[in-house]
């Protein structure tokens, strides 16, 4: 990796939700770095905490312990107004459900320029209109769409409007929270291409949250696999697919449907059983087995993984 500047760093993050007296630890002991210019994917099932992490970075969810450091500054917890404003402009989010993430009662024109209005990032009305038009064209939509309402558009188009809304702010870091899960399979390619194109053009960094490993292979540079609030494996995407080590990663990979009847029909499904780990005596830790390839496990398991790699 040429440009190894760390844009976002997450250290010992813990997020706990309180429901009356009951506490629920959604995310625990999470550590990772995201380098400028890369696409970093966070993959896990629903309830694994991946969305919670994304929302904590953009400050929708509060954090309980740990730090989130962006461009060298801590951005979780209480921060001053200036930093808050900086975070809003530089970190943006693309949401999962295109049907729910747009304000049904507002015109596309308003939806896209909402961020501009908030910080008065335009010179005059004409400048603003031009910005909206450019944003629409960038995502492959027609400028005439600005005067219409969201319900007139399909899922894929709505998602692109959501992308335009985020990118008109000219951010550095974009969190894409399952941006294609709710779309038809045939539309997914459109949106993925668009995300890649925009990344190159605007020099963006992505945190891509997904539950489908097949998608992330194509788009990401590095992948972290998360299970029940804890990251269990992290590696370059090719490395992860060729040499998965943690049993959960292996089961995720085996479950991914492959569009090839001959392969699919002969596939064997691996099931992950969390109780296979015995952490009562030997405590697990986060170990770098190969350069850039991290796994979570205790000494015994790590030894086993090393053996696997050497074979």
């Amino acid at each position: 990796m040429e440009n190894k500047e760390v844009l976002l760093e997450v250290k010992d993050l813990q997020i706990t939700f309180k429901n009356g007296r009951r506490e629920f630890v959604a995310v625990d002991d999470v550590n990772f770095e995201i380098y400028r210019g890369e696409t970093f994917s966070l993959v896990g099932e629903s309830g694994s905490g991946k969305t919670t992490i994304g929302r904590a970075i953009i400050r929708i969810n509060p954090t309980t312990k740990g730090e989130i450091i962006f461009n060298g500054k801590k951005i979780n917890g209480k921060i001053d107004k200036k930093l808050d404003r900086e975070v809003i402009q530089k970190i943006q989010m693309i949401f999962q459900d295109p049907m729910a993430s747009l304000n049904e009662r507002a015109k596309i024109d308003y939806i896209i320029s909402e961020g501009l209005y908030n910080f008065h990032l335009y010179k005059d009305e004409e400048d603003r209109k031009n910005k909206v038009e450019d944003a629409l064209k960038e995502v492959g939509l027609l400028p005439e769409f600005a005067s219409r309402f969201p319900h007139e558009f399909s899922g894929g188009q709505r998602q692109r409007i959501g992308i335009a809304r985020a990118l008109i702010m000219d951010p550095e870091f974009v969190i894409a929270d399952e941006p294609i899960s709710a779309l038809d399979v045939s539309i997914r390619a459109q949106v993925l291409n668009l995300l890649n194109k925009l990344k190159k053009e605007k020099n963006l960094t992505y945190l891509f949250i997904a539950h489908d490993l097949s998608v992330v292979r194509f788009i990401s540079d590095r992948i972290a696999v998360i299970h029940k609030g804890r990251i269990v494996e992290l590696a370059d995407s090719e490395e992860l697919f060729l040499h998965p080590l943690h049993p959960y990663t292996k089961s995720l990979l085996s479950a991914v449907p492959i569009p090839d009847p001959q392969i699919e029909k002969q596939k064997k499904l691996l099931v992950y059983d969390p109780s296979m780990h015995d952490y009562s005596v030997n405590k697990p830790s986060w170990v770098e087995i190969l350069p850039g390839h991290f796994v979570y496990g205790n000494e015994e398991e790590i030894a086993g993984y090393r053996k696997e790699i050497n074979d």
């Binding site: 929708i60 809003i88 558009f153």
Partner: protein
């Protein structure tokens, strides 16, 4: 199929240049929410009839009030307790006053009270309700306030307030405003609770949208149909409260004939002179029932699932 004959097979089966814009143009569905609401509502013939009756009644009330032949407090000593006839269309009361003029005057008073109270309660209730529901920090305060205040029936407050204050039009309006906004605020707060964490609101938060615009652009448009329904139900409610208060001799001064006053006056002589009660009650009933039914029909019409 003349077109086909003109083109040769060769031309028909030649490849066409791909047009990106054409692929994108879906031809929108031309669905306007409010137009659909109006159309669904107007399909309900019964509700439309009620709305028309109601509007006619309201307009007529004001018209009749200003064109009444006799002033409301003019006493005709020789024409006491007359049944409806050619001169006195609704008859006269115990003091010989024209019931027609009194009834319509009373109607306009009741409508004015209802109008002002509803308007104020809606404005205050919606704004407070939005803040209550959206800003988590205020929830505790308002909920405690609500719990304390709401446990005692509104009527008691109204009786207390109108008893303390001087009698007058603005007294009764003020009293009802003070007690009425809370219920609306609570209702709005519950609705806001349901929508505050939807993704489009999260998106607005991520973009740094300030509270006033969150309320006006993100929350209120979704509340409008419910608020209108509550307004429609509030009007007959206010009228009935006014009737109650006037019945008890509170609120409006003794000289002002409101519908409630007329009902209370007519009650005693009902057996022998039914017309004293019949006309005011008929007016109250029509207004109440129409607002109530039309309000419900509007609520049904504003549910997008019924827009077929």
């Amino acid at each position: 199929m003349e077109e086909n004959k003109k083109l040769t097979d060769q031309e028909l089966f030649s490849f066409v240049e791909f047009d990106h814009d054409q692929a994108e143009r879906t031809g929108y569905s031309e669905y306007s929410y409010w137009r659909s609401v109006l159309r669904t509502f107007s399909k309900n013939k019964f509700a439309m009839a009620l709305v028309i009756i109601m509007l006619c009644l309201i307009v007529f009330a004001f018209f009749a009030n200003s064109t009444a032949r006799f002033p409301i407090d003019e006493i005709h000593r020789t024409d006491k307790l007359l049944s409806p006839d050619a001169t006195y269309w609704f008859g006269t009361d115990t003091l010989g006053r024209d019931m027609w003029a009194r009834s319509w005057y009373g109607t306009t008073i009741s409508l004015k009270v209802a109008g002002v109270v509803t308007f104020v309660c809606v404005i205050v209730g919606v704004i407070v309700g939005c803040i209550w529901g959206y800003v988590r920090a205020t929830d505790r305060f308002f909920t405690e306030l609500y719990n304390i205040v709401a446990n005692i029936p509104e009527t008691i407050y109204l009786i207390l307030l109108t008893y303390i204050m001087e009698k007058g039009f603005w007294t009764i309006v003020l009293a009802m405003c003070l007690t009425g906004w809370l219920a609306m605020a609570r209702n709005v707060r519950n609705l806001v609770f349901m929508i505050r964490d939807r993704e489009y609101n999260l998106a607005s938060r991520c973009l740094g949208t300030p509270l006033p615009r969150m309320i006006s652009k993100n929350l209120i448009p979704y509340l409008v149909s419910v608020v209108i329904l509550r307004m429609a139900l509030m009007i007959p409610n206010v009228i009935s409260q006014e009737v109650t208060l006037s019945y008890l001799g509170l609120g409006l001064p003794a000289t002002t004939p409101s519908l409630g006053k007329l009902l209370s006056e007519g009650r005693t002589k009902f057996q022998d002179f039914p017309y004293l009660l019949v006309f005011p009650s008929l007016i109250v009933s029509i207004i109440t029932v129409s607002f109530y039914l039309a309000g419900n029909a509007f609520s049904d019409a504003s549910d997008p699932k019924n827009h077929v």
